[in-house]
């Protein structure tokens, strides 16, 4: 009955009620669609780093005096059951001389690993007394396939020039020379500077880390284990913060909607002062009056929020396709979560806004209210 009364009262001032509901619709749509957009953006960005998530980088524990990882440690690590791929890397800084001179990073890699990791822009990746040069370095030293360079005085012929690479966390070949591990040992000596391990699944990351800790680091900390996952986690966290901030800005529109509900409800209570008096005279408790008015706010809130939540998918899809371009993440569980979140906030705002007018209505003196015309 209270619900019916509330519905009919809203119907009595249709335009006003609809306008107030539109406010809620806009507010909820803004919050939820921005949430959906942010989530899609995050997913699109993280997708680029997807391969990275199950990568682990092992480096010598410099704080404990280890500058390289020796062959025995590598063999122990290789025995770990979770490994999908393991790439031992040697690296050092060296003087590179051709027509010009510069200092640059030199990597010692297995030929197969190098072929898998990088793409040649020109030439073909092959070592055996030859070397591969990153794009930037090649440009700086004006190198082509077949050019001759000296690495710390030792002669190499350039077999390939690599494509320019985007940001990477493990090896950055753009400004580097890559040679075979045998050649590397001759110039710089034994040992590895880094081991890149890809585990079979993301759940194996922590298992693998434990394995290394117990098999290699059990006596002394020989190697440091760094999970790429932790970088992704940080990126995710940063996105979450940005998203929250954007949603807070969108929340302002919901606040405005709340004020308009407050306004509508206050007008309604003033116009219906006499009716409140009648209700109180025939036996309505204060709590009954409070309920009737709160129902009105609740209806506005639910009505506006449900429509807003539905619209937020449309709006979220629109913004995402405009800005990100990829829309496959729009219709996902997390989007539904944001829509639900917007829905919840819309209803919550409406209830809060309805509270004061409802309270005021319930506090009216029945005699004064009855006399009101």
């Amino acid at each position: 009955m209270y619900l019916q009364m509330a519905l009919r009262n809203l119907g009595r001032a249709k335009v006003r009620s609809i306008l107030a509901a539109i406010g809620v619709i806009i507010g909820v749509t803004a919050i939820a669609s921005i949430g959906i957009f942010g989530e899609s953006l995050k997913n699109a960005v993280l997708e680029n780093f997807k391969d990275l998530a199950n990568e682990v980088i092992i480096s010598p524990s410099r704080t404990h005096g280890y500058t390289v990882i020796d062959e025995r440690t590598l063999m122990k690590i290789e025995k770990a059951p979770y490994i999908a791929e393991i790439i031992p890397v040697k690296s050092a800084a060296a003087e590179i001389t051709s027509k010009k001179r510069t200092i640059s990073t030199v990597y010692g890699l297995d030929e197969d690993d190098a072929r898998e990791m990088f793409k040649a822009e020109s030439g073909r990746i092959s070592f055996n007394g030859r070397c591969v040069v990153g794009k930037m370095l090649a440009e700086a030293l004006e190198l082509r396939v077949g050019s001759k360079i000296y690495v710390n005085g030792k002669l190499f012929k350039v077999s390939a020039i690599l494509e320019a690479e985007g940001a990477r966390f493990d090896i950055n070949p753009n400004y580097a020379v890559i040679i075979s591990q045998e050649d590397f040992d001759k110039i710089f000596g034994d040992g590895y500077d880094m081991i890149i391990v890809k585990v079979k699944s993301i759940e194996d990351v922590s298992k693998f880390k434990e394995y290394v800790e117990s098999s290699v680091n059990y006596k002394e900390k020989v190697v440091d284990v760094f999970e790429m996952k932790s970088i992704l986690e940080r990126i995710e966290k940063a996105f979450a913060q940005i998203n929250l901030f954007l949603m807070a800005i969108a929340g302002v529109s919901l606040l405005v909607a709340g004020v308009s509900i407050l306004n509508v409800m206050l007008m309604s209570t003033i116009e219906r002062t006499k009716e409140i008096g009648i209700l109180r005279a025939i036996g309505a408790q204060r709590s009954d009056v409070l309920k009737i008015f709160l129902y009105e706010a609740l209806i506005l809130g639910v009505f506006g929020s449900v429509i807003g939540a539905c619209l937020s998918f449309v709006a979220g899809y629109g913004i995402t396709s405009l800005i990100v371009g990829k829309t496959e993440y729009v219709f996902s569980l997390s989007s539904a979560l944001y829509a639900f979140f917007g829905l919840f906030f819309g209803i919550f705002t409406a209830l809060i806004s309805g509270l004061y007018p409802a309270y005021r209505a319930s506090k009216l003196d029945p005699i004064v209210a009855l006399r009101f015309e």
Binding site: M1, I278, L279, I282, G283, Q285, R286
Partner: protein
Amino acid sequence: MKAVELRNVTKVYKTKYYEVVALRNVNLEVELGEFIAVMGPSGSGKSTLLNLVGCLDKPTKGEVIIKGKRTIDLSDRELTKLRRDEIGFIFQQYNLVPTLTVEENIELPMVFKGVSKEMRERRVKELAEKLGIYDLLERKPAELSGGQQQRVAIARALANKPSILLCDEPTGNLDSKSGEMVMEAIREMNEEGVTVILVTHDETLKRYAERIVKLRDGMIVDVSPDGS
């Protein structure tokens, strides 16, 4: 037990600048099942008396006792409960809720009391038949004549089977024929045992009352039996 007792009741309205004494040392007893008329010119304190008996207000001095309960001791919640269960109001302006149908208007006091839907429907039917408004149940108040609206208001006032019916100029807005029908309905209810307190300055309604209480300047100046 009396239906209503007023003992040395004084009611003073205070505003910032002046005081109005609306009732001065009023004593009155109304028996259960009695029909009394309270008469007097405007400003004589009729409305104040009605508000006090209707548990909408409390006296400044003295005590108002409704069916053995001193209103001065009761909280707002308890006063509301007393209004809901023991008192039925009939106003000059009918005061039906415009958004609700006739049926829903009559149901309303029972909704506040928490009566089940089934019981409410039975009671509405019973009252509607008695007051000759059965065909109007689905209509809205605005679609009814004044006399019809007032009969709906009577049905609403009686919904929770109150012991006291407070009528504030019930015929004030009606033509004489509708007014008579309304008064007949009220009399019928009185004959079924409901105590009726009728506030009016219409001399022609005197004949319905067993007793007439005359008020002037907040004081009872005369109590006389009917027909005098």
